[in-house]
Amino acid sequence: MTEQQAPPLLNELSKKFKPSDDVVQTPLQIKGQCAFLFYVRTVVDGDKLQQTVIKPFFEMASEEDYASYILSLPNQIEIPEIDKLLMLISAGAVIVAIDNQLCLLELRLVKNNEVQETTMEPTIHGPQKGLSEDIGTTINLIRQRYHRASLKVEDIIIDDASNIAVSLLYDSDRVDPEVLKKIKKELGNLKTPLFQSGGELQHFLNKSKFTLFPTAMVTERPDRIVYNLVAGKIVIAIDGSPNVIVVPVIFFDFMASMEDNYHVSAISGFTILLRYLGLFMCIVLPSLYIAMTSYNPEILRIELALTVAGSRIGVPYPSFIEVIFMLLFMELLTEASMRLPKAVSGTATTVGGLILGTAATEAALTSTIMVIIISAVAISTFVIPINEMSFAVRVVRLLLIIYTSLFGMVGLLIGFLGIIMFMANKDSLGTPYLKIPWKSKTNELEGGQ
């Protein structure tokens, strides 16, 4: 019995993978039957390989039987050209060579497939679980909530260093084909060396260098994804990221929480009103303080004007330095409590709270009114349901402060108008950013675009 030679392709592949120690090229032999396996040990599910590939080999009567068995396995994939083949093997595919016939089996070992809790957009009612870091599980979660043949899943190959898996999900009955074409083109033209998360991709999708407002929504809520799919939007899922991207979006999408759909109308109406009030407050309030104390104190009531003037006794810097100083502290505090490990972040907020709360006023660094304003601003920033928008708002606020400290009340108005004009000029994949959705919820769900 002569030992069979491994197919030339396997040798070529193993040359490409050398000198990785976790690449396995092994023959299976019994009584004249012979097969070759080629895989990367660390990404292949060993148990599954043993059960579905190796064990049957020794139980089958002939090579032909085994070949037809392998070909009938559900996870068998066609062999693509060499580049993609390399990518698949590194992602967990196994090549089985029987009698010069090559089969490719997908036996990925995925460890990060647990479904995560919703952390960015928590709701009281509604689903508590979000998506998964594994793209397969993510798509599974979406498909399990949306049982329709028209839900299409398209894999997109992105030309970057990591060859990460990206999938496009949409309802082909409802999606706007123009937008679909555009997004495919954008993804095809993506010139980026490496990207690893949903947020990053949405950044690359923005063409201009300086962007202030997000033009794609990053979400982790399956219910929001399904809602958007039904409304004809496109979802981009990325392997390794527990968030997906929804395009195209308008400004008002960022102000909607899924919670709105789960409450009675009066309550959700009230919360929506509260949210817009919060948005307005956290943008305008710091600048309004500057405008009122330094340019137009006659807008205030006399009692308030006198109190503000009194509380500013001994404050060394002009009002805008005071505002910027306090805002900076607040931003640092927010940033610190976000990045720190959970065990330490409590300390950070307590210490920060002490500084911002009373110590700053007692040291006459700021006025008491300022502390109230800053806390109102901080709280109202968190009312915005989608994080990206609240980040954007934090920056907008600073721009308005600069305008206001230069031109007073007029500057505040002009700056605010400027922001509205800027948003009106913007679009997300052809959809005007400030488009006002004059549609009821049912209309939106029925009509798509």
């Binding site: 006659e298 009692e303 109190t307 009194g310 006794i313 805008f320």
Partner: protein, 373 residues
């Protein structure tokens, strides 16, 4: 590389420009660098001939309003030959900027009402930072006394004179309110004469007295109204309510609390003698009585009250007519409802108004005896 350099340059320019923000410019005045004027008083000057003495009430900033027990105001007075000059000269007497944005009261001396009223009024209407919604009032003695006076009831950061005249504080039919824009319009315009409240100071009891008023016709002698007349005028023209009428009959008396006043008039010229038909409707209830009242006899009291009120209104109207002043604005009404022609206002003022008859009809409607039975 060139792009990067450009970016760095741009960034540096931006930072340098932003650093300019630290240099507070001239328009930028923090609130603690301003002194709020919360009252202006004008008197004829004793030192400067034909000049004015301007008194300002300045609010001192208070660190903690709640801990402050007494009002914290400062006062400065200055003599100059015009009001604008006096204000400008006073700016040198205070270390911070005088901010008139919060001033809501201008008190004038009675003597000034006959003098060249429009010149010093001009100073106020021309200044951009004095709001046209300032209240205008007349001092019983001198305006310096009124402005400098601090009643015991005055709380810190709350100015008593403001509370008198805007409707957030006291609402009394004895207090008439005239804004600066009204004052200017009525003084310079024809057809309606302005009514200004008279602020008196009661030093013994440490309180203001705002009950009387004065009718001012530019160029003529001002006519003072008594407290009672002010009340009638105010309740008719401004629909001021919340007052009482005392009615006496034989041995009993009863007091009406008025809750609603309706007032309508019509100038009738083509039926015999020119006359003004006036209809006054008063709704209220009995507030006090010396006897037990029955609900059935309310109609009787209605009639009694109507007669009383009719008499007093007639007295007020005749007094105004005799002095040839017209705070009700009959003349304005006449001019507004006639085709414009030359001499229209003269005709009213000289021929019609002095002769016109008043025909007052009063309707009182008592809603209840005011007692729970």
């Amino acid at each position: 590389m060139a792009g990067k350099q450009k970016m760095i340059k741009g960034f540096l320019t931006a930072t340098l420009l932003l650093a300019l923000l630290l240099q507070a410019g001239c328009a930028f005045k923090d609130i603690d660098k301003r002194t709020f004027v919360v009252g202006i008083g004008i008197d004829p000057s004793e030192k400067v001939k034909n000049g004015f003495r301007v008194t300002l009430k300045l609010a001192k900033p208070i660190g903690n309003v709640k801990q402050e027990s007494t009002p914290t105001y400062a006062y400065i007075s200055h003599d100059a030959d015009t009001v604008a000059v006096a204000i400008h000269e006073m700016e040198t007497r205070v270390d911070t900027v005088l901010d008139f944005g919060h001033n809501r009261i201008i008190v004038m001396n009675k003597e000034l009402l006959t003098k060249d009223l429009d010149t010093f009024m001009d100073a106020f209407t021309r200044r951009g930072d004095i709001q046209m919604i300032c209240f205008v009032a007349v001092a019983a003695k001198t305006s310096e006394e009124v402005v400098r006076f601090e009643p015991t009831i005055e709380a810190p950061a709350s100015i008593a004179l403001y509370n008198y005249f805007d409707n957030t504080g006291t609402e009394s039919p004895y207090v008439v309110t005239t804004f600066l824009y009204e004052f200017r319009r009525e003084v310079l315009g024809k057809g309606k004469d302005t009514v200004l409240p008279i602020i008196g100071v009661d030093k013994d009891n440490q309180e203001f007295h705002v009950t009387k008023s004065i009718v001012l016709k530019w160029g003529a002698k001002p006519v003072e109204l008594t407290a009672e007349e002010t009340k009638y005028y105010n309740s008719l023209v401004n629909k001021a309510v919340g007052f009482s009428y005392k009615i006496e009959e034989d041995s009993m008396f009863l007091v009406l609390n008025v809750t609603e006043v309706k007032f309508k008039y019509k100038i009738v010229l083509n039926e015999g003698d020119p006359r003004i038909d006036m209809k006054i409707g008063i709704v209220g209830n009995v507030g006090e009585s010396s006897q037990r009242l029955s609900g059935k006899s309310l109609k009787k009291y209605d009639k009694l009250a109507a007669e009383e009120i009719q008499k007093k209104t007639m007295a007020l109207l005749t007094k105004l007519q005799e002095n040839n002043v017209d705070p009700f604005g009959f003349g304005l009404h006449y001019r507004a409802t006639r085709l414009s022609r030359k001499g229209l206002d003269k005709e009213w003022e000289e021929r019609i108004y002095p002769e016109i008859k008043f025909n007052v009809k009063v309707d009182v409607e008592l809603q209840s005896t005011g007692a729970v039975e």
